[in-house]
Symmetry: C2
Subunit: 226 residues, 2 copies
């Protein structure tokens, strides 16, 4: 029984991979080289895939940078601290246009070739930072579309399912779940803006992660720059 | 008023671009270098974009070949003639897994950056050769998902629309429409399996095109190999 798991190399996706393994799947992990400024995540992704016993790992190159429009791919400063009302509209500048849609679509292509009907994605609606493509109603709509898009949908052999095991968990709950499933968070990486190869400790993603470990009563195994 | 148009360089997508121009849009055309065996279509795409007055043209590289699974990207023979029942299941070997989903998703990312709420796609449900991602119910589901995926959907400024002006037309009707809108079909290309740079005249796509011109009472300006 095969599944495809999107694996960025961060805390959430590592935990999601552990869930897919727990559910009994032979898991094929996929990472994207999309022109992100923090390329270190691709190395983390590969290490996490191996450590959690994935069957294969693939890195797909897709140049979203050529469109512009996000602090994660453009030469725009990544804001420090958690988003505040004064920072403007509800969607942060670190949002990459249609990212989850592009990533899920490519994972769907691989799933179809593998004969897999299950895709795992580590989105989270609690700490989702205002990204529209992390909401449950979005995931549901993607799943519906995917079933109409593919051979499986036409020929009726197995309905495609998008699993989002973290969607309603807090960061602390995600960390406790991962630890219980044997995830080594020392291999993961979450920072939007690393300093000399180390997480900055100050961006939105670092602050969420650190607060999660604190709340879970655990020590983050990563060494921070700041 | 901006729109993004998927432009493969074939007859259908050229006609679709002409429709987008007729509808008054400033059109941004996008082509995909996805490891297809017939790279000549990328040249056609660029020429057609210029000839029909698009505002800009972008080629996005995405290596679907690394997944395998289709005669259009793998080293599998492209079948000659129209599909028959003996050729097996309803979906032909030239189907590229989740192709329209991947392509539309990337177009959606560009549309979001451009502030465009309209995407044009040249799919056709009449001569669709059994591809699941050319059906109206698929397009409708993609549109619904896209509106949940993006800033526009969250912030409510303009609903995203997927236009498929060819979806219920026969090949002959598409050709007549394109001619009336000034499309030069001599710049386009439709063959799955070109011979020495010329269309083969025998694959499914060539046969559909040739039958379309015959039925429209028009001469195909292309020179065929066979």
């Amino acid at each position: 029984m095969r599944a495809v798991c999107l694996l960025s190399g961060g805390l959430d996706s590592a935990t999601t991979l552990a869930c897919a393994r727990r559910d009994g799947f032979e898991v094929y992990t996929i990472a994207y080289d999309y022109g992100q400024r923090h390329q270190v995540e691709l190395e983390c992704s590969k290490r996490v895939s191996g450590a959690l016993g994935a069957a294969a790992h693939k890195v797909i190159k897709i140049d979203l940078r050529s469109f512009g429009g996000s602090a994660l791919t453009d030469n725009i400063d990544v804001p420090k601290g958690r988003p505040t009302a004064e920072m403007g509209a509800g969607i942060p500048i670190t949002y990459v246009p249609a990212r989850n849609t592009v990533f899920l679509s490519i994972a769907l292509a691989w799933a179809e070739v593998l004969g897999a009907t299950d895709i795992y994605l580590g989105v989270n609606a609690v700490d989702y930072s205002g990204y529209p493509d992390c909401r449950p109603e979005y995931i549901e709509a993607f799943e519906k579309m995917a079933n109409l898009a593919t051979k499986a949908g036409v020929e009726g052999h197995g309905r495609l399912k998008i699993h989002t095991p973290l969607i309603s968990l807090s960061k602390a709950e995600i960390i406790r779940l991962g630890v219980s499933l044997g995830v080594d968070y020392g291999l993961t990486h979450s920072c939007y803006d690393p300093v000399g190869g180390k997480p900055c400790g100050h961006c939105d993603s670092c602050q969420l992660r650190l607060a999660g470990f604190r709340e879970a009563g655990l020590q983050d195994p990563l060494e921070y720059a700041g």
